[in-house]
């Protein structure tokens, strides 16, 4: 050994040190990882496009060993427009609790998704890395900008079935009872008219009327190229109607089919928008919207009064006007 190291005891010591440091460094990392606490939280609620949202990573390390290189891998994406991978390296200081604030600047609306994938710890010599699974999923709605419509559209209501229709064996029913008849096998127990049945010997069931309502029906026909404008128009129109104390419906087409969502206040409008951000997450550029055709098929071409929001315009079917 002396010949190899050329009579250099300090070099020998340094080489021994390097050999010793490797497992020691790894040991320290393995000892410290279980006690480190890392948590990701939303730092802000829903924001408007153009404002900054935020993610907060809370880090706590009660051990005396500082972990200088903790690496969090996460994906940041807008549900409607895609995203990219990120990596943030931070230190978990010994005996301390801290926060790392990640502001996310927004420009367009959508659901801002923070999807953490893994956490990697590197040892002191930056040679070994230990990756542990780390799941954190945060959604922050980014609402469209509150714009005002250039001019107030002339709108007409559409005749649509009431939400309170109840299905029965014979078809769709409403709350309005058309007649009371004898029980037939297959009738639902909830349709039994118990009061009258108790008075007689036979079991009587209720048969309902179909009911129809009249309200504003909004149909957002979202296409990638006009996404933001259409969402802003929808939001502006929705707010306008609410300001007039006019509830309305918005038709959504998801994988399950058509769904009409009732909006009666701002909260419901915001919830609706959040749903839309997820429902239309698959929207792709260059693909035209077929929503109107689907809507017409569903309502047997009875679309009078429908308010379409399409390609940056608001089209009022009732008046054949565009805004």
């Amino acid at each position: 050994m002396a010949a190899l190291f050329y009579r250099q005891p300090l070099v020998t010591v340094l080489i021994l040190l390097m050999i010793f440091m490797l497992p020691f460094s790894l040991f320290l990392v393995k000892y410290t990882i279980p006690v480190i606490g890392i948590k990701a939280e939303s730092g802000s609620g829903a924001v408007t496009a153009g404002a900054a949202a935020g993610i907060v990573i809370k880090v706590s390390n009660p051990s005396p060993v500082p972990m200088l290189n903790c690496r969090l891998f996460f994906e940041l994406r807008n549900s409607l427009r895609g995203g990219y991978d990120n990596e943030v390296v931070f230190a978990a200081e010994a005996g301390k609790t801290g926060e790392v604030k990640i502001p996310v600047l927004t420009e367009y609306s959508g659901m801002l998704i923070f999807d953490a994938k893994a956490l990697e710890y590197r040892d002191f010599l930056d040679i070994f890395s230990i990756t542990v699974p780390f799941k954190a999923y945060i959604e922050i709605p980014v609402l469209p900008r509150e714009t005002l419509l250039k001019e107030e559209p002339m709108l007409k209501k559409m005749t649509v079935e009431s939400d309170e229709s109840v299905e029965s064996a014979e078809g769709e029913l409403t709350r309005d009872v058309r007649l009371v008849r004898e029980y037939r096998p297959g009738d639902r127990l909830k349709d039994v008219h118990w009061k009258l049945s108790a008075k007689g010997d036979d079991i009587l069931v209720k048969e309902y009327e179909r009911n129809r309502d009249l309200y504003y029906m909004l149909l957002p026909e979202l296409e990638y190229e006009y996404l933001e404008t259409d969402l802003e128009n929808l939001y502006a129109l929705g707010r306008l109607l609410l300001s007039r104390k006019e509830p309305y419906r918005v038709a959504l087409f998801s994988e399950e089919g058509l769904e009409t969502v009732k909006v009666e206040n701002m909260e419901e409008l915001k919830v609706l928008l959040c749903r839309m951000f997820m429902v239309y997450a698959g929207i792709r550029p260059g693909v035209p919207s077929m929503i109107y055709e689907q809507f017409k098929r569903h309502f047997n071409d009875e679309t009078a009064g429908l308010i379409r929001i399409s390609r940056g315009r608001i089209i009022s079917e009732g008046y054949r006007e565009e805004y």
Partner: protein
């Protein structure tokens, strides 16, 4: 919690990186509708602390290296003094990176301080370095068993003082270099190379520095390795002020689809983390070194020889003996003869081993020249011998004394080294009689038959010649030469021989003749060939011949005087550039050299004057060599014969080392013959440096071989090796010479530090004054407001990062109405992601409401609102009134 995302910066402050980052963000916003902004943490970066820790690392590296190195050679120095000064210097160096202003101005200050310190302490530093060099050379000489001892002159002999000064100087230098390596790059490789290599001077000869210094070094290596690998050392100032996280971006494809961005944000250093790593490294290295301490003694005690080691040992020995430049000599120069080769040896480094052993009777204190090599034909870099047969030199006239000399060749070159004027060799083998031809032997035997009786018996000669101690042995008879004022006529000099001399020993290459003539002209050296040259007078005109010889010697003396006055003798003159003629370069530019330079140029100058001369190499045995010899058990009559033998003559045996190898000139004296002539002036003391380069070079320049002769003893305390540490007063007094520069440096550092700390205050005040002068009272008021709001935020009274006026007004109104505000101290912390409360809670802090009523607060915030939208419309009265209110908007703690 409000996220601002992008910290506001003035447009003109945007760096190239920042602009690029903002542009990329814009692209991401357009593509994805979102992008990551300026990541931050809840910690408050502490630049001061960060710089302090770096200073600590620099100090550990510098002090570990310099202290360890000097201690290895048992040199005395003030440990506390050096440690304190090096620590201050390390602090200064580390704080150069505090911000951009300190970075640019600080280096100027560092340089000026360095120059001032070097100027004030020039001789102390120089003497300290020489003391260190002397100890190193002594140690190497002892270790390798070298006989030569290079010694440098220590002008100030108090080593405690001078070594301390030298260590401060080196510490200053290394702290600047290591500052770049540690503060700038946290590079283990650079730190290791800078600190480890100098220590090799000790390790190579198994000198182990004291353990504390090694611990410091190991601790630094571990810290720098960890912090450098983790990237955990940079300060935000090197990035835009907004950026706490450094970012790197790449684009990568995801699943073959369109490119997606990838951004990596790396955390910049935290001072707390760095301090922990440094402390842990220190503890770890201490423990590790204590455990492995045994390795040092076990490894160093086992000598191992191998080919690589022997090779490097050889170079180390040459470098120790001859200096670094000796490694670049174009041919061997460890004393001995160079066989006429000139200019390719930048440094002569004798090994002081015995080359010859002589036994003879010295007749006077004059130098005895033993001629070996004769150079006749000059080219650019060599004086070569005459090829082919040449006639013997004429036999020299008997001067009343004949002598005998035994010459044993131990390690000299394969020449016959013969004294002037040898005429007979008693050696049996013909090979030993090379220097004396058979014809000369016959002539000598005939001319001085009686002297042959001095020769030793054959059996004795044979025994000596067969001895294993010598390569060869020569027994010669000679008529001793003595430089006289007058030389008699020598009938042995024939006209044919003189023709031969004038034909072969006057040649000078045409390309240098002009330079030689110019040199002779400039220095007023001449020889009247018309009167005394060949053919100027009739042969046999003894009077003219006498004058001829006198003038010849006078011309030679003039050349010698010029050398004495204008040239310098040194054994380290440096190499002659390969495109230059050695003699011309020496005479016109170099003006310093050793014997070969003086002898070769002297011979050519004489030839140019018309005086035949030749270049000789051999050994010059001086009187000091003779004095160091031993009295031989032999009879004087066996070594000396003739008239006027001195009464106190005795036979001496002298060992001649390669340090006595020498070069001189032989001058032809018409009608007499060849005489040896010394052209090399004696060595002189070094003069003080004049140019700035010389100034710093002179700090560390070795001042020659002589020891003790040139000690001036300025401020000497009579402690040769600095053994006395004295009391505190002596210690303080000993630093009086550096008190000025040191105090100046510390004061400057304090001023800069104070200025940096008050930078924000100065900047704010300057900004306010500037706005006031412009008449922009609204902006000035807003600056004051922001300062007041920041003060409240620092104490956690408000939780707003960038409060609006409305927010702040609401808060102040509430504060006034309640009369106080309570600031709760954190009650717990997160452990494993869960919040846990402390066991003992500290009480909340209470602050009194500002001294204003609601009307005042309304007035203040209305004015501030007005200032925000229309800064130029604020009147002087409003401005003054708001200043008074803002001054009251301060947090006064309520203790009861």
């Amino acid at each position: 919690m409000a996220f601002s995302g992008v910290k506001k910066l003035k447009k003109e402050k945007l760096s190239k990186e920042r602009k690029k980052e903002l542009k990329l963000r814009e692209e991401e916003l357009n593509a994805f509708g979102m992008t990551v902004g300026d990541i931050s943490t809840d910690r408050t970066p502490n630049r001061f602390y960060l710089c302090f820790i770096r200073a600590l690392l620099i100090f550990m590296a510098v002090f570990g290296m310099t202290g360890g190195l000097v201690s290895s050679f048992d040199l005395p120095f003030s440990v506390i003094g050096v440690a304190a000064v090096v620590f201050v210097l390390s602090l200064f160096s580390a704080f150069l990176y505090y911000n951009k202003i300190s970075f640019y101005i600080g280096y100027v200050v560092v340089f000026l301080g360095f120059v001032v310190f070097s100027a004030r302490g020039y001789w102390y530093i120089n003497s300290g370095y020489q003391a260190f060099s002397n100890e190193v050379f002594n140690a190497y000489s002892d270790y390798f068993g070298l006989l030569s001892v290079r010694e440098a002159t220590e002008f100030i002999t108090d080593r405690y003082l001078t070594v301390t000064a030298m260590m401060i100087f080196m510490g200053w230098f290394f702290s600047i270099i290591l500052n770049i390596a540690i503060s700038g790059y946290m590079s283990l490789a650079a730190t290791f190379i800078i600190t480890f290599l100098p220590l090799q001077a000790a390790f190579y000869i198994d000198r182990i520095p004291p353990m504390p210094y090694l611990i410091l070094l190991i601790a630094v290596y571990v810290s720098v390795a960890i912090l450098g690998r983790a990237g955990h050392f940079t300060l935000p100032y090197r990035h835009e002020a907004a950026e706490e996280f450094e970012r790197r971006r790449k684009r990568k494809k995801r699943g073959g689809k369109q490119e997606t961005g990838f951004a990596s944000h790396s955390y910049l250093a935290s001072s707390g983390g760095m301090m922990r790593i440094s402390i842990y490294s220190m503890i770890f290295s201490t423990a590790f070194m204590l455990v492995t301490a045994g390795l040092f003694s076990s490894l160093s005690s086992r000598y191992v020889s191998n080919r690589t080691k022997d090779l490097t040992d050889r170079y180390i020995k040459a470098a120790v003996q001859g200096g670094i430049y000796s490694l670049f000599n174009r041919y061997q120069g460890t004393g001995g003869l160079s066989e006429g080769r000139l200019g390719g040896m930048g440094n002569v480094s004798p090994d002081f081993n015995d080359d010859l052993t002589l036994r003879f009777v010295p007749l006077s204190s004059s130098t005895i020249y033993l001629k070996g090599y004769e150079g006749a034909v000059y080219t650019k870099d060599r004086f070569a011998p005459i090829t082919g047969k040449k006639p013997d030199d004429p036999m020299m006239p008997y001067d009343g004394i004949a002598a005998k000399m035994w010459i044993g060749n131990i390690d000299a070159g394969n020449y016959d080294f013969l004294p002037y004027y040898s005429y007979y060799s008693g050696s049996r083998s013909a090979a030993s009689r090379r220097g004396i031809s058979d014809e000369m032997q016959v002539k000598g035997k005939e001319a001085y038959p009686d002297t042959l009786s001095m020769l030793d018996p054959g059996a004795y000669r044979e025994a000596l010649e067969n001895s294993n101690s010598f390569k060869s042995v020569n027994e010669v008879l000679y008529t001793p030469f003595d430089l006289k004022a007058e030389f008699p006529d020598n009938p042995e000099v024939t006209e044919e021989y003189e023709d031969f001399v004038y034909d072969n020993y006057l040649n000078v290459p045409d390309e240098i003749a002009g330079d030689l003539d110019l040199f002779l002209l400039e220095n007023g050296i001449s020889f009247n060939n018309a009167l005394y040259g060949r053919g100027a007078y009739e042969s046999g005109d003894l009077e003219k011949e006498k004058l001829d010889r006198q003038h010849t010697l006078a011309a030679a003396a003039d050349i010698y005087k010029t050398y004495v006055n204008d040239f310098e003798y040194t054994m380290s003159p440096g190499l002659t550039p390969s495109d230059q003629d050695t003699v011309v370069y020496f005479l016109t530019k170099q003006k310093r050299g050793f014997c070969a330079h003086f002898a070769s140029s002297g011979a050519l100058l004489l030839r140019r004057l018309g005086i035949p001369s030749r270049y000789i190499e051999g050994y010059a045995v001086g009187f000091t060599d003779i004095e160091e010899g031993e009295a031989a058990d032999a009879k004087v009559s066996d070594y000396l014969m003739g008239d006027d033998i001195p009464d106190l003559a005795g036979v001496v045996e002298v060992n001649v080392t390669d340090a006595s190898a020498h070069g001189w000139v032989e001058i032809w004296l018409d009608g007499y013959g060849w005489i040896p002539y010394e052209m090399t002036p004696p060595s002189e003391e070094d003069t003080a440096a004049t140019s700035l380069y010389d100034f710093f070079a002179g700090l560390l320049y070795r001042t020659g071989r002589n020891t003790g002769d040139n000690n001036r003893g300025e401020n000497s305390r009579g402690n040769v090796n600095g053994g006395s540490k004295g009391n505190l007063l002596n210690l303080l007094d000993s630093f009086s010479f550096i008190s000025g520069p040191l105090a100046w440096t510390v004061l400057l550092f304090a001023v800069i530090f104070a200025a940096l700390r008050s930078y924000a205050f100065i900047k704010k005040s300057f900004g306010i004054r500037s706005k006031e002068r412009e008449g922009n009272l609204g902006e000035a008021l807003l600056i004051r407001y922001r300062s007041a709001a920041a003060g409240l935020k620092r104490k956690n009274i408000t939780g707003y990062d960038n409060p609006t006026f409305r927010d702040m007004q609401g808060f102040v109104d509430e504060w006034i109405s309640k009369g106080e505000v309570r600031v709760e101290v954190s009650a717990g912390r997160y452990v494993n992601g869960e919040y846990k409360e402390y066991r003992f809670r500290r009480p909340a802090r209470r602050y009194s409401a500002p001294e204003m009523d609601k009307a005042g607060a309304d007035y203040l915030f209305n004015t501030l609102n007005k200032a925000a939208y229309s800064p130029m419309s604020i009147s002087t009265d409003d401005y003054a009134g708001c200043i008074k209110l803002l001054k009251r908007l301060k947090a006064k703690r309520k203790l009861f």
